[in-house]
Amino acid sequence: MISDFITMNGYGLFVWLSFSIVFFSCAVVYFKTKKTLKKYEREFLVELQALTLEEKNKVLENSKVAQQVLSASFKKN
């Protein structure tokens, strides 16, 4: 039963290879995209922290995105 499932009546190599390539490629793209997103979030926070208090307040007042990135970083920490 299990060997039938693995060999797929002689087509196992093609079937498993297809599924593996698809899932491996998708996983690589997912982790690469996530890494880039985290990198930009980090860089944005660094730039935000580098501002003077007055500038920072102004940015936070005008940008909801900045508020959300900052609050997300607080939640993580």
Binding site: F5, M8, C26, Y40, E43, L51, V65, Q68, V69
Partner: protein, 235 residues
């Protein structure tokens, strides 16, 4: 109405959608794989090799759908100058390229046991290869050009030119004698695929669509942060 589509609201919505997709994705993936690899029956001619269809067909459909969407948004952006469309296109193009490449590779792996060859210069296969090249040109235009106006112009030209290839892909199996089989699933008219195979195919399509949406949302979120980072002093 337009205020709703501001980057802040979109950013908030993206976060909610990413959370939602993450919460349902693995459950649907497990259901899809169970159907595709265990519960669906083997084909009377192709045997278990038919299971490759559950990753090949959704990949090809998404590859085509992404390019159609890019063309539509490029034309709309060119006419109405909606800057969000440019960022949407930039986020969709890598997803389309990924799925087009996967459709070609899995098609090749399906072709060997069923046709006895990995590749043939058949109309459907060649037109899919051309689609992949258009995706590469499109991504290169986003990466290599500096001025946003030039990027929009060049990418729109590539998208519109590439869209000529879309009906060729769709009807290649009818217009020419090809190794590739004609479409088994038709939106209008009756499909020749059995429901026991159609259901797993639709579940796998949903899995792929959720994955594509997740990657798109993450890429679009990155674009929003990148712009906000650039304009931080102006905010």
């Amino acid at each position: 109405m337009f205020k709703f589509f501001s980057s802040s609201n979109i950013y908030f919505l993206i976060q909610k959608l990413i959370k939602f997709i993450n919460s349902v994705f693995f459950l649907i993936l497990v259901i899809g794989l169970t159907f595709a690899l265990i519960l669906s029956p083997p084909d009377y001619l192709q045997g278990d090799a038919v299971r490759i269809m559950y990753v090949h067909v959704p990949s090809a459909w998404i590859g085509l759908a992404c390019f159609s969407l890019i063309t539509l948004l490029s034309v709309l952006n060119f006419i109405f100058k909606i800057k969000n469309f440019y960022f949407i296109n930039k986020s969709i193009a890598p997803i389309g390229l990924l799925f087009t490449c996967l459709a070609i590779v899995t098609g090749s792996l399906w072709g060997q046991p069923t046709w006895g060859t990995w590749w043939a210069w058949d109309a459907r296969l060649t037109s899919m290869l051309v689609l992949m090249l258009f995706y590469i040109f499109l991504i290169l235009s986003f990466k290599l050009l500096n001025k946003k106006e030039s990027i929009i112009k060049v990418s729109s030209i590539i998208a519109v030119t590439g869209s000529i290839n879309l009906p060729i892909i769709k009807y290649s199996v009818e217009w020419w004698t090809t190794l590739h089989q004609p479409a088994s699933i038709k939106i209008t008219g009756s499909s020749s695929i059995h429901s026991e195979m159609l259901l797993p195919l639709m579940v796998m399509l949903l899995v792929f669509l959720l994955y594509a949406a997740l990657i798109f949302l993450m890429k679009y979120k990155t674009e929003i942060i990148r712009i906000k980072k650039k304009n931080i002093k102006r905010d």
